[in-house]
Amino acid sequence: MSSDAMAIQAARAARQPWVQTLHGWVTTVDHKRLGVLYIAYALVFLVIGGIEAAVIRIQLIRPHNDFVSPQVFNRMFTMHGTTMIFFVAMPILFGFANYLVPLMIGARDMAFPRLNAFSFWLTAFGGALLYFSFLGGSGLYGAGNAPDVGWWAYAPLTARAFSPGHSSDYWTLSVLVSGFGSIGTAINLIATILCLRCPGMKLGRMPLLVWLNLVMSGIVLIALTPLSAAQIMLLVDRYLGGHFFDTQAGGSATLWMHFFWIFGHPEVYILIIPAFAFVSEIVPVFSRKPIFGYPVMVGATVCIAFISMSVWAHHMFTIGMNSYSNTFFVFTTMVIAVPTGIKIFNWIGTMWGGNLQFKTPMLFCIGFLFQFLVAGLTGIMLGAAPFNWQLSGSYFVVAHFHYVIVGGILFALFGAFYYWYPKITGRMMSESLGKLHFWLFLIGFHLTFDFMHIPGILGMPRRIYTYEPGRGWDLWNLIVTIGAFVQGVAILIFVANLIISYFNGTAAGNDPWDAWTLEWSVPSPPPVYNFATIPTVASRRPMWDLKHPEDPDSIYE
């Protein structure tokens, strides 16, 4: 046993009684513990949302299946969508941002540690509220339990007349509450990044992960708040008899769609930009080269942030906008592919001529690159209004955005897990289990989401609870469901790897990947105060400078 492993053992042996440990975690304001709480909380919801996806896929495995009733099916896709976006993807990305940003900029904590804890508990409370609807949603009317209005919750489905009981109220309140949590975290991240950088860490020297989280937080401020505003309006409608979305009194269902998608499309970028951030940190380390085109990467991200605010109505081509609006939103949707393409070129440029090491984090990043490219291409297809008129609301759309969220965001996230797990726990994750996880998940992913495009093109609409045989959809749905279960098995291997490696993984030491950013300069897991003395940096790769004093980056930058 090496001295590192003994140090971990000693640290773990010195633990307090469990009541004190629990008390410590509940009352913590430490950014690292809150980061871990965010991630653990999101992983629990990932399993729950995954079970809901499994129910959906079992129901659709063959025509005229009656595994669940239509009502339950509606609840399942509503809860699956809401859970995965608001209580898995956002918290898990915030968790990584929370953990990594202060370490990467050489700070001892976030700018507002108590606001940080408050934001986490708001998000946690929001998730609990959403799932309490299974018990409390029927209210006085005895109608329904969990929300069944879809994750868009289009008007007038959410009106009192069509959604009696309290299921929609739980949906609204949970999204509103967790939204306030997200705004708090975004404010905290921006203040941390702008105000707590260590000496020498100029904006142009920040790791790309920090830059991209800064941009992501900016989008949260501008794009998440319209959703909060729309939820407040919905609450006014449902509780105070307002008419915002009440078509009987002249209200507009289209206005809800606009407000929702003004949030909804930038939300995709809120999720994918942190995924870009992981890839931008992992790819250089496993290519043994600095990132290619650092300033262009930053510029492209800022471009994406700006353009993402003006593409929302490409979700609404089928509602019948005029030709000027259609043209504008087709144009902006095409334009946003340009900075995104620049990023893909830069990652490939980083790998080009590099000394590639195909460790598990790198494998997931390479999977990300290919799949995100395909997802972008189907996005361009759907962004062309005439094509969209044909395929909007079909399984082609479902396949497209799962390609983005699973093939892009989730793959990058898995890469991040394998890359930073040693820093968080002090132990390496198993490479063999990791490779098994990668290949199995890759196969499952492609079985599910490649073949899901086809029933979409053949006209299968989303959100149907069953379908007629003989339309040519049967085989594809069977393959898609089988793929979903392969993915489920892969996720179980991942969870097993997380647990087994925590107890049996080899000790990581400070810097297992020979990386270049500041989080690898401190012990794994880092002490509460992060840095014994606040570091000073002179280039974008401070650890390179430290390891190679004869040839530091600082003389070139």
Binding site: N188, T192, S554
Partner: protein, 196 residues
Amino acid sequence: MSAIANPVGQTPWTLPYRGKVAMACLIIAESAIFTIFVVAYLFYLGKSLTGPTPREVLEVPVFFTICLLSSSLTVHFASRALEHGKRGAFQGLWLLTIILGGLFLFGTAREWHRLIYEHGFTISTNLFGTTYYSLVGLHGFHVIVGLLMLTIVFIFALGGRVGPEHSARIEVLSLYWHFVDAVWVVVFTVVYILGR
């Protein structure tokens, strides 16, 4: 980590104050919320299926608007006074700010009382009612939050616990109060000028 060479050590390393950055972020986020409510108000102008219309029931609250806008000046000079260590002037101007904000709130309360009891006009009457009460109410809510914070500071100040060393924090609060006033300029223009 101190082993890393520090060629930038010659220039002092200064970064912005976190409170100010956070308040600026909050203001950006709040502006987006208000924008959505203003858009809804403008979108539904004249689309109510039943009366009353804005022209029939709304009166322009000139006096109370002047109260709120001048409170922006008093809060500015209050924080300036604190910066220069003039605690008496600070307390006086701070109290004046609270009174002016309170007057504005009284004006809104009186207007709503008149609308509800004389015209029977509520949030559920028509689209105008829904959008009017939500927009003005959302702003009023922000005024209430601001007044609560101003009052807390005033209580501390009376206890002699607010000194020049707190002026950066007071500056953050005054930034919020300026924002509340600026929003009123937009709400006033939209509701009482364009909307009538």
